[in-house]
Symmetry: C2
Subunit: 229 residues, 2 copies
């Protein structure tokens, strides 16, 4: 029974959504090759089931419309495959990271790459993106982020301090092996890598070295999506 994943794509087909990357990595972690259904922002409502965001996963009669729910479902459905959450503690850890990424990482990345995202969207998506995202910037133009990019990059690097300290002690966010906690942080960095040429991390940053290890996971799944130039 196929797993079908609807995910967001830019004009040239590149997959850039941080939440969709969490789902892609979680599926790969479970050894599943999903049927991918590319979507633009403009197409999401056509998926049906009241969906207003992606990723959306269909499996048999089940439909999951949130990256967290997808991970929890995969863990429950495939308990014998590699674990996404090694136990209840890992799940609470991942949930904290979910909120941490949403409140501390994604906003600073967005203030770095907002204009780069818009440039790479299908024209059908650009007006929607500009209207909704300029509202998040308090009405400022998307292009205004380019003027403050250095500040946003510095804030992003500072926000990564706890994961940097952790990765000086262990190979992955989840411990000696990668699991869902890693994919949450990975999604944020992959979002930036795929859609924007702005370098977020120094080459000698332990977070960068961990990110390179994550790009190699699951047959180089993440690296298969080209970096923006």
């Amino acid at each position: 029974m196929a797993y079908t994943l609807h995910e967001l794509r830019a004009a040239d087909g590149r997959a850039f959504s941080p939440f969709c990357w969490r789902a892609r990595m979680a599926l790969a972690h479970k050894g599943i090759v999903p049927v991918l259904r590319p979507s633009r922002f403009s197409d999401i409502r056509e998926i049906g089931h009241g969906c207003r965001t992606v990723p959306v996963l269909f499996h048999g009669g089940a439909c999951f419309t949130d990256s967290w729910d997808i991970a929890v479902y995969l863990e429950r459905e495939l308990p014998d495959a590699a674990r996404l959450f090694a136990g209840a503690g890992d799940r609470h850890y991942a949930r904290f990271l979910h909120h941490w990424a949403g409140t501390q990482l994604h906003p600073t990345i967005f203030r770095t790459i907002a204009a780069d995202i818009c440039d790479r969207l299908d024209p059908a998506d650009q007006r929607y993106f500009r209207e909704t995202r300029e509202a998040r910037l308090g009405g400022a133009k998307l292009e205004s982020v380019r003027e403050n990019q250095a500040v946003a990059v510095a804030q992003f690097r500072a926000a990564l301090a706890p994961v940097r300290s952790l990765l000086e002690e262990q190979a992955f966010v989840a411990g000696t092996q990668p699991a869902y906690p890693d994919y949450i942080v990975f999604g944020a960095l992959q979002w930036a890598r795929v859609i924007s040429p702005v370098p977020l991390l120094d080459a000698n940053d332990p977070v960068r070295q961990w990110f390179e290890r994550c790009l190699d996971l699951h047959g180089g799944l993440g690296r298969g999506e080209p970096a923006a130039v």
Copy 2:
């Protein structure tokens, strides 16, 4: 065989160190009433064993000079008591929070309460505290933090966003029951509560409500230390 805990005290004997509070709560979680040995900054070297910080825990011939090592030791030594780390995942979670508190919470709290700490220290400690802590402030006077208190409080509240979102979903940082992840965040807030009258959290903040629950744990151990006025 007694557990002896050396912990930091202010001039009037109040226990305010965030790291010592982690150890106090971890011991109470394991059902242990330690022998407490109050210390000033000036006295720490007299503890011996190369100690330069507190908490320091002695148990039989063993000596632990770091709050993290104390928690790990208690968990190993007392596996049948309530768990501080429900599994490997909880331990990675706690370690992330350890780094998160150290890099995101403690610095913003310090920029709120630095002068209040100094005011309440034993005179023997004040010169040491002023010299070392003004260096952390880039040479600015401790009292200068009072001018920027509102900004620091706002930054602290923003830094708490991920734990706030989590506590809207569950009763404790560790899940349905408190464990070491809670004590890490608790230590930071208890530090401020005991040493400074500055209100860090709104009464309707879910983090404040969780903190009140933590003050009631273990027979009201935390609440037993009076709040600064």
